[in-house]
């Protein structure tokens, strides 16, 4: 049957079991939007293309499915750039479809023309420019295949306007033929035997879990591994939720704002087994001083991650869905008790670190402690909510204080650190998980970066609860200025006329405010019980620091544990 190019795109989405698209129309995608209209394909209109791409990202992170977004040519495409880079840094499966000007106009600096393939080359797993309709079905098939297999990532398809209007006898290819693309599943199992030998020798082992576990959905395997061995676990920001935050073996997040126990364990351990991690600089600090005494073992699907930042003594390359069950199986076969794997003396030491220096606050009594806000929400939701954050102090406090229980329950921009990510990502998550409590922790800086999406939230009746940790400063910038720039608070104040409650109400979101500590519990309880979207503006003291903190370039055991106030 002859079909318009635009209809081909929709048919391909159906074949890939895409159930919703986030997007924003424009000149080059009018035919595509016409096909959406005619087929009644589910689509969410965001208020900015950046909102669309972050929403698709939130949808993907919460479910593991591939998120899809549409944008028009030129500024439509360039507005996606931050969102695509965000997804790329955190390995999120995403297909971004942009319109491009007519074939004869490409390269002529035409109206709303931008070389979006050129622009997104460094921030996509792959991208395509489609100029002939014959290529369209194959490109769509390949794009979804590449986005979701191996180490996932965003793929961009730039489709010329002419292709949407052209016709084709549509057949969706069943397989892809990519000569240069290998999505590795099983690796070399003899490496796992070597890992077990190393584990048996280790006196002070630590397991380090990262985003790869959340992405591959292997938290059950990690939990099994911990059950079998009792080895202490540290987590990266992206690894939170893999095991319950309050599990006795869990020492917490490691790195710049890691817990005392996790950072001390990293410096002192003699074996560090990284699982789906990329040893980011926010984790390692100065890389030469990271786990200096340890044999490093690295489990990852991407061979390029091994030896990129930290030299690995042993590497297990392959999908965690292959390596972790095999590791557990081989460990279970050994006749070794939990105490022997984890070493009682070592476990005693790390537990003492945990008890000795729990997370601290530098605030004098009186004001609302930001950590209390998060602990309260954690208690009210019993750690079962989908937690979304923006970027900054509130993000770190959430990572430290929320009790995560399940994989894919913490959606945050880890690698790129994108302010403005939270609200649209929460929209994406809530749409795909309507039964879940979706809670966004954001700051007075971050929320403004995509606050137009409050309209999307309200108009779609999505019950996301937004908690604005309003300290009237760009908190993380402020903290660095306090600690390293002689308290010269250069342009980090947001004090002004903005009224977040009114802003929310203006767009159809209910607004509540907390100004005194005694109001906190009642308002939070009320907000969580309300139907529909709610924004809670919580006024916090300006000067709370995220602690502990490892100064840039410092060693992980050289933590600032107390803040500098004033």
């Amino acid at each position: 049957m002859k079909m318009l190019g635009a209809e081909v795109v929709i048919e391909c989405l159906k074949a890939e079991e895409v159930d919703i698209v986030f997007g924003y129309p424009g000149g080059a995608v009018l035919t595509l939007y016409d096909a959406l209209f005619k087929t009644d394909f589910p689509h969410i209109l965001t208020r900015h293309e950046q909102g669309a791409v972050h929403a698709a990202d939130g949808y993907a992170r919460a479910t593991g499915k591939t998120g899809v977004c549409f944008a028009t040519s030129g500024p439509g495409g360039t507005n996606l750039v931050t969102g695509i880079a965000t997804a790329y840094m955190d390995s999120i499966p995403l297909v971004a479809i942009t319109g491009q000007v007519g074939v004869s106009l490409i390269g002529k600096d035409s109206f709303q023309e931008a070389d979006i393939c050129g622009i997104t080359t460094p921030i996509t797993k792959h991208n395509y420019l489609v100029k002939k309709i014959q290529d369209l079905p194959c490109v769509m098939k390949e794009a979804f295949y590449i986005a979701r297999t191996g180490r996932p990532g965003p793929v961009l398809i730039d489709i010329s306007k002419d292709v949407f209007n052209d016709t084709l006898d549509f057949v969706y290819p069943e397989t892809v033929c990519l000569r240069g693309y290998r999505s590795l599943f099983a690796g070399d199992s003899s490496q796992i035997d070597l890992v077990i030998e190393a584990l048996e020798k280790a006196e002070k082992p630590v397991i380090f879990v990262g985003g790869g576990v959340n992405i591959s959905g292997t938290s059950q395997d990690v939990r099994k591994l911990i059950n079998l061995t009792g080895i202490p676990v540290i987590s990266s920001l992206m690894g939170l939720g893999c095991i319950p935050s309050d599990a006795p073996e869990h020492l917490g997040m490691v790195g710049m704002h890691g817990t005392y126990a996790a950072n001390m364990a990293t410096i002192d351990c003699d074996l560090l087994m990284g699982i789906g991690v990329r040893f980011d600089d926010r984790v390692t600090s100065l890389v030469q001083n990271f786990a200096p005494k340890a044999t490093i073992i690295h489990f990852d699907i991407d061979p390029a991650e091994v030896n990129k930042n930290v030299r690995a003594d042993l590497k297990v390359i392959g999908d965690l869905r292959w390596s972790l069950p095999l590791l557990c199986e081989k460990i279970a076969e050994r006749n070794v008790t939990k105490k022997q794997w984890a070493r009682a003396e070592w476990v005693g030491l790390v537990q003492e670190w945990k008890r000795e220096k729990p997370l601290a606050s530098s605030l004098p009594a009186g004001g609302i402690r930001p950590q209390t806000v998060i602990e309260k929400v954690s208690e009210l939701t019993q750690g079962e909510a989908i937690i979304v954050t923006d970027v900054g102090q509130h993000q770190m406090w959430t990572a430290q204080s929320y009790n995560f229980n399940t994989q894919r329950s913490f959606l945050t921009s880890g690698g790129l650190g994108t302010m403005g990510y939270g609200l649209p990502a929460a929209i994406g998550a809530q749409i795909t998980l309507p039964e879940k409590n979706v809670i966004l922790f954001t700051g007075d800086g971050s929320i403004m970066m995509n606050c137009q999406e409050l309209a999307t939230l309200a108009d779609n009746g999505l019950p996301v609860k937004i908690i604005v940790m309003n300290n009237q400063v760009l908190g993380m910038v402020n903290q660095w200025q306090r600690m390293f720039y002689g308290k010269r608070y250069s342009y980090s104040s947001t004090k002004g006329c903005t009224d977040f409650v009114k802003l929310a109400e203006a767009m159809g979101v209910a607004g509540l405010r907390v100004t005194k500590p005694e109001e906190l519990n009642t308002v939070l309880e009320k907000a969580l019980k309300m139907e529909g979207p709610v924004l809670v503006d919580i006024l916090l003291p300006e000067t709370e620091d995220v602690l502990p903190m490892v100064a840039p370039g410092g060693r992980l055991d050289q933590m600032v544990l107390r803040g500098i106030i004033g």
Partner: protein, 165 residues
């Protein structure tokens, strides 16, 4: 350390953008890059000369390039017995008085003169980079107007092609 990589890629639009984009993004130190068609119509071969600190950095270059969807195969032919060549065209000032001296130099280097006029001539030389460097140095005395070099290409000796290495 200097290495030579033979990179086989699918001959598709944008493939050179992906490769050059990756090289610049990861700040790899590329000495030379030369691309051209191969015995297979849909395959392009790119010879990349790369300078790295150590084997770990080389491993990064290879692993990162391998991740590009259009890259089919990368063979490190640094330690393989191979032939490495570069082609250069050099435009030199030459007049009646010194032309025969120039011809002598060209003969010593087994280069060729491919264009002559009253004021200049163009020398063509293929060989290893060091040989071309040496010729350029000698020709400096005559006055070089223009140099164009292809960057090195390489092929292994013996029957095994790079795609099967």
């Amino acid at each position: 350390m200097k290495y030579t990589l033979a990179v086989l890629v699918e001959n598709r639009p944008g493939v050179l953008t992906h490769i050059s984009g990756l090289i610049s993004r990861r700040a790899f130190n590329i000495e030379s890059i030369a691309a051209g068609p191969t015995e297979e119509v849909d395959t392009t071969r790119i010879t990349i000369g790369v300078e790295v600190e150590d084997e770990f950095e080389l491993e990064q270059v290879v692993n990162q390039l391998s991740k590009l969807v259009n890259v089919i195969k990368i063979a490190n032919i640094t330690y393989v017995d191979s032939i490495q060549r570069e082609l250069a065209l050099i435009k030199v000032r030459a007049n009646k008085a010194n032309r025969s001296d120039l011809v002598d130099v060209v003969e010593i280097f087994r280069a060729k003169i491919v264009d002559v006029n009253r004021e200049t001539l163009v020398v063509e030389l293929s060989g290893e980079e060091s040989k071309i460097d040496a010729l350029c140095e000698v020709l400096t005395d005559f006055g070089i107007l223009e140099i164009v070099r292809t960057g090195r290409i390489a092929i292994s000796r013996g029957p095994v092609p790079a795609k099967d290495m």
